[in-house]
């Protein structure tokens, strides 16, 4: 079945560590790609998105993601995480409709 996979269920990092969260999808053809973040007690917010153009997209709060078409991937990165980045991160793909990954919980230790 076509799907969106986030391989890391829970990631624990210390402040200032680098972050990479994986996202792979199995849809062929044109896709729109998103990363959403859900901070504790808050609703889902858009972190960044890719529709076309430069495959390296920059979002809010120093996050970036790279679309690699050949690998069907859209991994999220941040060079130096902060305690305030503790949240759940969801990858989403629009092909015919939007599908979300299961989410990755990030815990950043101060």
């Amino acid at each position: 079945a076509q799907s969106v996979s986030q391989h890391n269920h829970h990631v624990i990092l210390s402040e200032a560590a680098s972050l990479e969260l994986g996202c792979n999808y199995s849809y062929g053809g044109t896709v729109n790609l998103f990363w959403y973040v859900q901070y504790p007690g808050q609703h889902l917010q858009l972190l960044l998105k890719y529709f076309s153009g430069d495959p390296l997209v920059k979002g809010i709060k120093g996050f970036e993601a790279e679309f690699i078409k050949s690998k069907f991937s859209f991994n999220l990165r941040k060079p130096s995480v902060q305690w305030s980045d503790t949240a759940e991160y969801f990858c989403a793909v629009i092909h015919n409709d939007m599908r979300f990954g299961a989410g990755t919980r990030l815990t950043v230790k101060p």
Binding site: H43, F90, A92, I94
Partner: protein
Amino acid sequence: GAGVSQSPSNKVTEKGKDVELRCDPISGHTALYWYRQSLGQGLEFLIYFQGNSAPDKSGLPSDRFSAERTGGSVSTLTIQRTQQEDSAVYLCASSLGKKDTQYFGPGTRLTVL
């Protein structure tokens, strides 16, 4: 401008009762979505409305679930004869069009006792 709003924010009900959850999308957004988020799970697509077209109901888990969207704006998700496994956060999102960015509401936390 105002974002997506949902009401109630919390709903506790007894097994077997019916519940109605409401979503007010962003003004001008023609697309509206309902999702379910269970503890430790991702977002499960339930139903999608686009303008005046017939809704995409492919994600509804059973015939106890239904939704309507009146006047192309407000939407109501109804769960009949609630079961304990219906306990979850129900999220609504809206977007300008089907392939555009979705903006989420705060959700309704449903607890079925």
